[in-house]
């Protein structure tokens, strides 16, 4: 059933729609090194899609291809039924693809609120002049933006730190603020680069809950990268497994777990 592109309803009652993003035969090289070798997979509307693999498998490179930070030498990226031309990262962001970074890229000098507001930049339309004077459409727009941001702040339970400069926050909260900023853009596709990296068990549980809630409440399609298999298997609808730049598995967590190649890649196997 899950191999068709027909919409279906998951066991927990969420609707998974048609193909939102389709990666076709992607190959990415750095000089002579092939970071990604001829990989194809799709991401469907409303699902949580994980890309997993050991260190150096090419997961982050793949995420960077999706978000436009890298341009693949071969292959096509299809988004919402259209072939996406080569784009700069800011253009991809304007298409409605938001992301977080493995090493956190926040505006350290700004407050939490200001950081999240930058996520709304692509939704601000009124002219510079009216914004400066704070009248007319600009005012209505700012009020609307603020309301959405406040909703996200409530949702991610960061009310207490909204006026705190991000530079002063501990690591786990920074990760949450970064997620909030990405959510503020109301993305059609949300990319999370190792959202649980460097977290303790409790923080990981919190983050997992937020990811599930975001997907459930806002219906946001999420693609995430992890190398911790345990967390991912509980979270995701479908999983792509990468190793040395190749795709070695693709399917539901259960299917992937039973795949011999995946087991070998993770447990290590002698090749002689």
């Amino acid at each position: 059933m899950k191999d068709t592109v027909e919409p279906y309803v998951t066991d927990d009652g969420r609707t998974i729609g048609g193909v939102l993003m389709d990666m076709r035969n992607i190959t990415l090289r750095f000089g002579g090194v092939e970071a990604i070798k001829d990989i194809s997979f799709d991401i469907r509307e409303g699902e949580i899609r994980a890309i997993i693999g050991p260190n150096g498998a090419g997961k982050s490179s793949m995420l960077n291809v999706i978000s436009g930070f890298y341009n693949p030498q071969e292959g096509e990226v299809w988004f919402r039924g259209e072939k996406r031309p080569q784009m700069k990262p800011y253009q991809v962001a304007r298409l409605g693809i938001a992301r977080t970074f493995q090493n956190i890229a926040l505006f350290e000098g700004m407050t939490v609120l200001d950081n999240i507001m930058t996520g709304r930049l692509t939704h601000m339309k009124s002219g510079m002049f009216w914004q400066a004077l704070w009248v007319g459409r600009a005012e209505a727009e700012e009020v609307e933006n603020r309301e959405r941001v406040e909703r996200i702040i409530d949702f991610l339970e960061i009310q207490a730190i909204r006026k705190t400069p991000v530079g002063r926050l501990p690591y786990g909260l920074k990760k949450r603020v970064e997620l909030a900023r990405a959510l503020a853009a109301e993305p059609k596709l949300l990319l999370l680069d190792e959202p649980m990296a460097g977290m303790n068990v409790e923080e990981k549980e919190d983050m997992s809950r937020f990811i599930l809630d975001v997907n459930d409440e806002f219906g946001t399609t999420i693609a995430l990268i992890e190398h911790d298999m345990g967390v991912v298997m509980d979270l995701s609808d479908r999983v792509v497994v990468m190793d040395y730049g190749r795709k070695i598995g693709d399917g539901t967590p259960d299917e992937v777990r039973g795949n011999q190649e995946v087991i070998d890649a993770y447990l290590g196997v002698s090749h002689d």
């Binding site: 930070f69 800011y90 962001a93 304007r94 890229a105 507001m117 930049l121």
Partner: protein, 332 residues
């Protein structure tokens, strides 16, 4: 109050106003440095170029007249009209925006990710190139900037303050042009702050100044923001060029005022807009007061030439990040 004390106050007031002009030049540096990490050596030349262009347009000068005449054997120098000041200012602003676009398009777009020293060298090249273009376009003679700004000491202030001291005090001498420069600077800084805090582009500008990668990920075009900050720096340069030009004529030594902005930046910090203002004021007041109390009576005068640099040097030793270090300013 004794006359000496009152004259001391007058020195401080005049120092503050001189400081405003230093601050204006420093402001241009800060804008570009904060958003792109480029130390723009050409800021002073941009002030000169803007002032030259303004005068040229106002007087109806034919740009590149010398070159045109040499190539085609013609004898054109003037269009024979004069352009009203406000219109000429609008044209000059457009030209500075065009210059900002060209700088980004032809120079810095190709140098993204290079070492700071390479970017710095590029701005040195840019400075001499722009100076040459200014010379070629408008000629190298000293021009007067006839914007109709009032000049000379303000009689009103003098009469108003004369009663403060005894018979040997004649009131404060304050240059009207300095007063106007101060008002213009306050308006300029206030609008820059409103722009940065409350507009979409201002927010994007602060974002780029903070983290390039994060800015890209929320949909900000770095290229656009850099053209924007170079344009703003161009407009600030125009204001600085007009004020210095009105004071001492539009001449090529104007580009050297950029050097006076260096100690201001060392004091205020390279990334802080308030720092540029406060630094400018401290240097302005400091050098005037030093000249009045120590320089002239004991050191034979002319200490204004080096005092600012000495002060900056002392600052570098004890507080290398300037008064407003990176961490404080980023929250402004």
């Amino acid at each position: 109050m004794s006359a000496d004390f009152l004259y001391g106050i007058e020195v401080v007031i005049n120092g503050l106003m001189a400081g405003v002009l230093y601050a204006l030049v420093a402001l241009g540096f800060v804008l570009i440095f904060k958003a792109s990490g480029i130390f723009n050596y050409a800021q002073g030349v941009m002030a000169l170029f803007a002032a030259l262009t303004l005068v040229g347009i106002m007087e109806g000068q034919v740009p590149f007249a010398h070159l045109i005449n040499a190539l085609f054997g013609t004898e054109v120098h003037h269009f024979g009209w004069e352009v009203p000041a406000l219109l000429a200012i609008a044209f000059t602003v457009l030209i500075m925006i065009g210059f900002a676009w060209a700088v980004q398009q032809f120079v810095f777009r190709h140098l993204v990710g290079q070492e700071p020293i390479i970017l710095f060298m590029a701005t040195i090249g840019l400075a001499y190139f722009l100076e040459g273009v200014g010379d070629l376009m408008w000629g190298s003679d000293i021009k007067t900037l006839a914007l109709g700004l009032p000049q000379g000491g303000s009689l009103a202030v003098e009469e108003w303050t004369a009663g403060l001291g005894g018979d040997d005090f004649y009131g404060f001498f304050i240059d009207k042009l300095d007063m106007i420069a101060t008002i213009v600077a306050i308006i300029l800084v206030a609008s820059l702050i409103i722009f940065a805090q409350y507009t979409k582009q201002g927010r994007a500008m602060r974002a780029v100044a903070d983290d390039h990668q994060a800015a890209l990920s929320v949909g900000i075009s770095l290229n656009f923001i850099w053209v924007l900050v170079w344009s703003l720096a161009g407009i600030v340069a125009l204001v600085a060029g007009v004020m210095w030009g009105a004071k001492s004529g539009v001449q090529f030594s104007l580009s050297l005022i950029a050097l006076k902005a260096l100690p201001v930046l060392m004091l205020g910090g390279f990334t802080s807009i308030p720092g540029a203002i406060v630094g400018g004021l401290i240097i302005g007041v400091g050098e005037k007061l030093f000249e009045y109390t120590i320089g002239a009576p004991f050191l034979g005068g002319a200490t204004e030439n080096w005092f600012a640099y000495m002060l900056a040097l002392i600052f570098l030793v004890f507080r290398p990040q300037g008064l407003f270090g990176e961490k404080i300013i980023e929250r402004v």
